[in-house]
Amino acid sequence: MNSYFIKRFAAMIITLWLIITATFFLMHSVPGSPFNEERTTNEAVQKNLEAYYHLDQPLIVQYGNYLAALVKLDLGPSIKKSSQSVNDMLGRGFPVSFELGFYTLLVAILSGILLGVLAALRHNGILDYVAMSIAVIGISIPNFVMATFLIEELAVRFPIFPVATWSSPKHMVLPILALATGPMAIIARLTRTSMLEVLTQDYIKTAKAKGLSPVKIVFKHALRNALLPVVTVLGSLAASILTGTFVIEKIFAIPGMGKYFVDSINTRDYPVIMGTTVFYSAILILMLLIVDLAYGVLDPRIKLHKKEAK
């Protein structure tokens, strides 16, 4: 387990380094300097600005500096919003985005599993069809469409929830709903399929023959095994929730990280684009690692296999 962890960790660092390198050179291959658009700057001023942001140095030196700063977790200053650093922006935006993402994932997992289990237990019954219809619709409606629909119905036509911003639990309902529908649908479908498969296994028959209560059979014996495929997709689901936050934060005017990211794209604020990309990628890769490790913990067969391989 230990050497496996080290190997995975090394792979993670390499992936992250590749992302950083690719982003860095992509960003710097864009023609023109970030300062010379629209307003005409004095040449001396521009030189000074470039010197201040070290843009006058050779590319490879800039790359070295960036990596050196990054090791100290310093993502550099913003070019368009002077006096703010990328770290400040992330420090302010991340807690909000994290809250949104975390609750969304929680809602999606809980409701998805519930729907999936109900559908599997009532296979080909009305409940099954209802649950799977919800799931197919959930997959088909993009999150930004869902968000606009929710605003129109539950905030404008029937003003039950506030339209935007992020201050009280009531404000969180619509964004979380909009963001959670897609992942919930995917989890529900996966849970249903693997639950149906597990329920036909011999050990479930044994459990039934032993006279265990249905609740115990479902939750202790069936669900635990049925959830393994669900765990494997959690990483990519987290990724889709993460990118979903950009657009949801924009629609609901939530002051999260996604807002800085989208703003920085529109203003071509390269250090901020780079910083947020690196940060997002790091979180995602970390999530994938956690999912992998969790998988090993949940499924004892995988651990055994690894030991045998050694």
Binding site: A11, I14, T15, L18, I19, T23, L26, M27, S29, V30, V136, I137, I139, S140, I141, P142, F144, V145, T148, F149, I151, E152, V156, A239, S240, L242, T243, F246, V247, K250, I251, V262, I265, N266, R268, I273, T277, Y280, S281, L284, I285, L288
Partner: protein, 317 residues
Amino acid sequence: MELRKHENRNISPDVPDAWFVPKARNQTDAEAVIRPSLSYWKDSWLRLLKNKLAMAGLVFLALLTLLAIFGPMISPHSVEKQTLTLQNLPPSSKYWFGTDDLGRDVFTRTCYGARISLFVGLMAALIDFIVGVVYGGFSGYKGGRTDNLMMRFVEILYGLPYLLVVILVMVVIGPGLTTIILALSITGWVGMARIVRGQVLQIKNYEFVLASKTFGTNTARIIRKNLLPNTMGPIIVQMTLTIPSAIFAEAFLSFIGLGIQAPHASWGVMANDGLSTILSGYWWRLFFPTLFISLTMFAFNVLGDGLQDALDPKLRR
């Protein structure tokens, strides 16, 4: 069975021996095939036909394609011409889906958006198909160290957040239709490559491949004639699922302002424009593009599900 009946004969005296008459062996029928011989594709097609939801999806997509091709032609209104006297008209017999804030016909623009969405989806799926099949097929067929190395690379790409990469590429190259397709293809083929590789790894060990090899068939022909046709099922399913995710990505990018640029119409652009006027009550400007996005995604998803069931040889009855 027959033997046991003879043994048990004496156990129940109520049953006279005369009841047991051996059935005459019908020589002609014994070898007959009851089921009509169907090829894999024909069988799958028949099974797909029975799936009502998948067929509804297929019909909708066919209609949408017709609308995308002929809609802008038959519509009397122009996609880009602005008529400022006709701002924000509600749907009527003249403007079926109403008009937008620049007096452009929403129906014509929706048809035009269908063109862009379908084009992006099909192109992304096609590129994924070509790159994924070549890469995955080669990797799986070669096996060993080559496979290991090629799959390491795929794993790294797989770990990258898909939309983040797309956004980065859009920022660097600049928004536009070609860039969207290019950006989607950079990481999109990875899933296809993994599926093809897995299938090829499995199939290449089967006897009929060995037989081909014994006859001296060259590698390219084995991949083309033996391996690919047998991996086609999962490939087609993967393609039908790639298309809606590409359509979603285009709408998403256009929605955050990185996709199709004005004055071109795309569903994402129209939805974004419509959202800003939602409080003014111009519901049709948001409703129609979002309806079309959702219906198209729905159609592709149910069609993909149906194909998955239809193409699975295990479900063949």
